[in-house]
Symmetry: C2
Subunit: 298 residues, 2 copies
């Protein structure tokens, strides 16, 4: 199966599970609608794809991994909703549509994020009720959900968001920026990679290689996003252009410039490819995925 | 051991675990400080106490139950921080101190809530890293964490908060108010009761009795809180008085009046006590706990 077909197969599995699963919610007030609005906004589902690819590279069962892939996307969606709120980045548009709080109001958007963050753990810990097959061994399931919690919380994505909101061009260094992104963006990518291995029952050395791949991929994505924020076409990226500059936020672009950003992204992609050697031919797809991230700006 | 000594024993276990555990966080930016500020604000720890009491009533190991008790309190604290924010209830004071967003700002308060909600699942799924002993069977641990996720999310507390923010005196009925509280307040109480049984390995009938007890206790608490919001002394309750009336929110007090509220609370407490019959003498403490809730307004 070529790269595109395989990506589509993983992404379609996730899309179908998310679409079917969200309908099973209680539909209390507008909350389920607000959660669904952002969850089914048609993202690339790249974090769940990474998780499923690692599970398959380790010889795991994709049906067992699917609840964790869905959970990861719910957590990512929570972070987007909360990040867009007026007290955070105050963004009106996301993926070409009005952001959650513009449609549902700030209070409901806050709760929609909380609801998705919690639903992730419901789905991972008892996949049956979300019409997912699940059935992974309880120890592996708890272990994979733990990896995802760790990548999400204070030592992961949320900790990185906290560093990000206190960042300004005045206190910026490239080290601080990298430390921020290693938590903010890389937290969920590393968690995706590690959880995919854990759910497949892989051992510690593979889990650690996967975690490093996730970190390198996350940094590549962040640099590429920074480049696209300046040079990208809003009709393609679906985002308001120049947001970072408007917020007076330090970025790789403002600190390194376009050429050095591209060189750094190439270097990170090579390192990520090297981490995949431990997975043999099972790692080919993930090596190519890192390359494709880079190609968006080459 | 009498009621007071037993309550103190449970609450002290939780306080000690929370205090020691929060120090193990990474301390990124101000986030860990903001999480700690609200988590260690000296609440009564009643939800964790209910969880530990049910675990003990079912013959379970308190050390195995402790991570779940701590997780529950972290989730409750998240809900308080987010509820107090300007886009929600806009409260400046909580437990006699300025609320989280007053001290840390709206963005950090939002993240502190997200961080605590996530930390709850970290602690429940891998108690070892939080210096808790843990060690419960993985299937029981995943089951208990699932009960807590269910009581927290769209079909629990968060769903109830969503109903609550769309409530007004114009659309108020006693049925809608009760349906709101059965999710908003009772979600975590039921989850506490059910998770305590699950972690101890108790069977379905006991778990269901426990869940009904949690529901009845939660409703009692909500009615008692509504009474205290009107009639209570802010120096005792630690809350701004008359908040509900200020927000034009329907309450049991505004709909039933003081006398009928007290009668309803007595009736619920009796029903809760009856649910404890299935637990034999192990249920005595929980029967008394429901009585004490009532005594705050008798």
């Amino acid at each position: 199966m070529d790269y595109g077909a395989r990506y589509k197969r993983y992404a379609d599995m996730v899309e179908e599970a998310l679409t079917g699963g969200i309908e099973t919610l209680g539909g209390v007030s507008e909350l389920a609608g607000a959660m669904k609005y952002s969850l089914l906004a048609g993202g690339k589902r790249i974090r769940p794809v990474v998780l499923l690819a690692f599970a398959e590279a380790c010889g795991g069962n994709l049906e067992h991994a699917l609840p964790f892939a869905c959970g990861l996307e719910m957590i990512h969606t929570c972070s987007l909703i909360h990040d867009d709120m007026p007290c955070m980045d105050d963004d009106d548009m996301r993926r070409g549509r009005p952001t959650n709080h513009i449609v549902y109001g700030d209070a409901m958007a806050l709760l929609a994020g909380d609801g998705l963050l919690t639903l992730a753990f419901e789905v991972m810990l008892e996949p049956g009720h979300f019409k997912l097959k699940g059935g992974a061994d309880a120890r592996r399931a708890a272990g994979a959900a733990y990896q995802i919690a760790l990548g999400t919380g204070e030592r992961g994505m949320t900790g990185g968001q906290a560093l990000d909101i206190t960042a300004s061009c005045e206190n910026a260094t490239i080290e601080r920026l990298t430390a921020t992104d290693e938590l903010k963006t890389c937290g969920l990518f590393s968690a995706a990679a590690r959880a995919g291995c854990v759910i497949a029952g892989a051992g510690g050395a593979l889990v650690d290689s996967a975690g490093r791949y996730g970190l390198l991929l996350g940094l590549t994505f962040q640099i590429v996003d920074d480049i696209l924020d300046v040079e990208g076409d809003p009709s393609v990226t679906g985002k308001t252009a120049g947001t970072d500059a408007k917020l007076n936020k330090p970025t790789y672009m403002s600190m390194l410039g376009s050429e050095r950003c591209r060189a750094r992204a190439r270097e990170l992609t090579e390192q990520a490819a090297n981490e995949m050697n431990a997975f043999g031919s099972g790692g080919d797809f993930l090596r190519e995925l890192a390359q494709k991230a880079l190609l968006r700006v080459q």
